[in-house]
């Protein structure tokens, strides 16, 4: 068991080329904050990318930031904040150790993903070493580029199974001046999702839309939410002061909203939603993406078979499912069947005991095309074997 810590691109290439030559698979890690998601890596050795760290270029006016893959997300966040900017896809805060490379490799996005796009939509370019042990780059360092295949899209969400990222280029955007969160109390799941759809169909530029059933709402550390004593439905408005105030009034009228959150309360609530921390910690956790209107139907189908709690983000399209008693497959068959019946989507095993993660496909089973893509980048299966179930 060896842990490799390359400090530059060339060392990274040498290590992977060595692993290729010796047929020794590697698990790629940054801060390790997402190691509990999906399936277990089958590699004996570890490739730790945290030394590939540092912001290498940042020009706020160009909306572009370049960083080593091992750069802590928190460091990037601070730098952006100092210039009034942000990563618009809202990476869920999973702890102080998480790196930008890990966020991109997992394509993990938060509540604003609904309207601002995912990590993949803000990932402009990269330099990496493939599972062949070869350095390659793709994309560019400008916000608008269609030169060559869009390999950044493929790399985002590939969980390190295609290449080890060395450098990433990100699109950054202005941080909103003002935020308001409009709250509705006591709506059932279906009513809530319908209200979220009305909000998103309105011209008031809702950026995030979530629904917390009563049990989840009660766990919030935001007083207004926890004290509601009922389900809480939340819509976030962001932008320039006069605009947000106007839209907030209009949206409250449109939906008959009971309450609104400002500043810090709003921030805390959306972080709680982003990390699904309003659901019990000790349960098997699934992250399910379906058409927004299908969210309640998926939840109802799972609730008929299993003891479950839910949390809805993305206007109903992202359903977090926490299972108390999940059975031998962690509820996989029931959850995936519910997704299929609701018109399709995908389910990821987000948190579960290792025994379960070893037994159940944590991601959607790979198609033959996906396997051919894997071979195109990593023919010998050196990088993160097993991580995505193959």
């Amino acid at each position: 068991m060896t842990t490799w810590r390359p400090s530059d691109l060339n060392e990274l290439r040498e290590i992977i080329a060595g692993a290729v030559a010796d047929g020794q698979p590697l698990e790629i890690v940054g801060g390790g904050t997402k190691r509990s998601i999906g399936n277990l890596s089958q590699a004996a050795h570890t490739l730790d990318l945290r030394a590939l760290s540092g912001i290498r270029a940042y020009e706020a006016n160009e909306l572009v930031l370049v960083a080593g893959a091992g750069t802590p997300l928190a460091q990037i966040g601070r730098e952006l904040e100092s210039k009034g900017q942000m990563l618009a896809f809202d990476p869920p805060p999973l702890g102080p150790d998480q790196t930008i490379g890990g966020v991109i490799a997992a394509n993990l996005s938060g509540p604003r993903r609904l309207t601002a796009g995912a990590a993949r939509d803000h990932f402009l370019g990269f330099t990496a070493v493939s599972g062949r042990g070869e350095i390659f780059k793709a994309g560019g360092r400008v916000v608008k580029n269609v030169t060559g295949y869009d390999l950044p899209k493929l790399m985002a969400g590939s969980w390190g199974t295609l290449a080890a990222l060395e450098e990433v280029v990100l699109k950054v955007l202005p941080r909103p001046e003002k935020t308001r969160t409009v709250l509705l109390f006591g709506r059932c799941d279906r009513e809530a999702v319908a209200a979220l759809a009305r909000g998103l169909g309105s011209p008031y530029e809702v950026t995030s839309a979530a629904h917390l059933p009563a049990a989840a709402a009660a766990r919030s550390s935001v007083g207004y939410v926890a004290a509601a004593g009922s389900a809480v439905t939340a819509l976030r408005l962001e932008g320039f002061g006069p605009s947000v105030e106007h839209r907030c009034r209009a949206l409250r009228d449109l939906l008959g909203a009971e309450e609104e959150l400002h500043g810090a309360n709003s921030r805390v609530l959306w972080d709680e939603i982003a990390t699904a921390s309003l659901l019990p910690r000790d349960r098997v956790l699934w992250r399910v993406s379906v058409a927004p209107s299908a969210g309640p139907e998926v939840a109802a189908a799972v609730a008929r078979a299993l003891d479950a709690e839910f949390l809805y983000d993305w206007a109903g399209g992202l359903v977090w499912i926490a299972l108390a008693e999940a059975g031998g497959d962690g509820g996989a068959a029931i959850v995936r069947d519910a997704v299929r019946r609701a018109g399709g989507g995908h389910a990821t095993l987000f948190r579960a005991p290792d025994a379960l993660r070893a037994a159940v496909p944590g991601f959607e089973p790979a198609s033959s095309l996906a396997r051919r893509i894997k071979e195109a980048f990593d023919p010998l299966g050196i990088l993160n074997p097993g991580r995505m179930g193959f």
């Binding site: 916000v143 580029n145 060559g148 320039f240 209107s293 893509i373």
Partner: protein, 495 residues
Amino acid sequence: MRMPPSDAAVLARRAAIIEGLRALVPGEGVIVEPRELRAYETDGLTAYRQIPLAVVLPSTTAEVAAVLRFCRDEKVKVVPRGAGTSLSGGALPLADGIVLGLGKFNRILEIDVANRCAVVQPGVTNLGITHAVQHLGFYYAPDPSSQIACTIGGNIAENSGGVHCLKYGLTTNNVLGVEFVTIDGEVIRVGGKHLDAGGYDILGTITGSEGLLGVVTEVTVRILPKPPGARALLVGFPSNESAGDCVAEIIGAGIIPGGMEMMDRPAIHAAEDFVHAGYPRDVEALLIVELDGCEPEIDHLIGRVEAIARRNGAVSLRVSNSEEERLAFWAGRKAAFPAVGRISPDYYCMDGTIPRRALPYVLSRMREMSERYGLRVANVFHAGDGNLHPLILYDANNPGELERAEAFGSDILRLCVEVGGVLTGEHGVGVEKRDLMGTMFSEEDLKQQQRLKCAFDPEGLLNPGKVFPELHRCAELGRMHVHRGKLPHPELPRF
């Protein structure tokens, strides 16, 4: 233009191939008459022409699959085509290949307001989607200038942009799902009404792949509520530098306008002479800044942008006070291409992107090149995202002038890469910029891209001759060179 050598065996079997295709796509769906084939010999890049072996116009996904499978078995190359508006020669035919036209896939299949998406066939025009949903208060955001004609299938192939993409994204940021067919005839659905991929992002990979990976047969796009209003500022500057500084300060202030377009003096004059939009003639650069949203937001931002513009030396400034006035501001910009077409027999439109800070340098270098090549150039510029559209003026009837315009264009694109930019912001590589790929990418970069191609199309039958300057066999690309003894420190224990 150098294209892959024709397969003599395929040319010799033309009659049998046509017969085979006719068995798969009935009646007028297979076009073989030279007179009719001529309609397909070129696309928006009209300098290159080639009559294809045949044109096939299927009307169902099953027919597309059958045709592709047949072409794979018969080793016939396939050039997919939407409306043929590509400015990079993406749909340029091959003598030994068929053109697969998706024009019959022209139906809107579903409008789903609750999920804010529309499911359409790939031959629906870009503007057709907006027309289908606007009565519900929605629109489809990406707006390439050819939107009245170009198809959503073509938009996906090229990852098309438009004037509003700084704020609303390119095609890839607005597509939720596709059904596509591989060269093997396999029908694959990725994405849908839900967000993100459950595995590799094949949707994001297909988008912008220029017809080299598969043929799209159904599309799900995101639709957005139409902003309640929009107003524009028309601002003149005494230099490109001051206009560029103004753009940088607007973005630095946290304002992402719905549209932000810049024109240089030659483009301003050509446009004003043509449509009399009321543009000032005595400025070096003109900026159109459009702000959309609710009324309080527009009012607030107009004030802020106006202050920034004045601080940066604006010599003329108008704010639209009516919808007519806003459209008048745009009329000149939207007519810039035909306006330049009026003052020159031919023009050649380039499409590089640069970091915006390099704009003054790039424009001054371009002026030097213009003198050296003896050809005029006018610039329109998606200022917010650094996407430059130099229009090179030439006359194809003068011997050698097309070649000079192309050489000039290549120099401009090399310059874009030199300053940290890219070869193409929204028009695609196609045949046009294919041979410049090496200025931006290493041999290894390009080989890795082609290995991805091998995962979809190992025989290289889909749109060959586009994007990649050199074609390698997949077997050669897949070969691994593993020599333990040649590693840098073979003596060190590694695992």
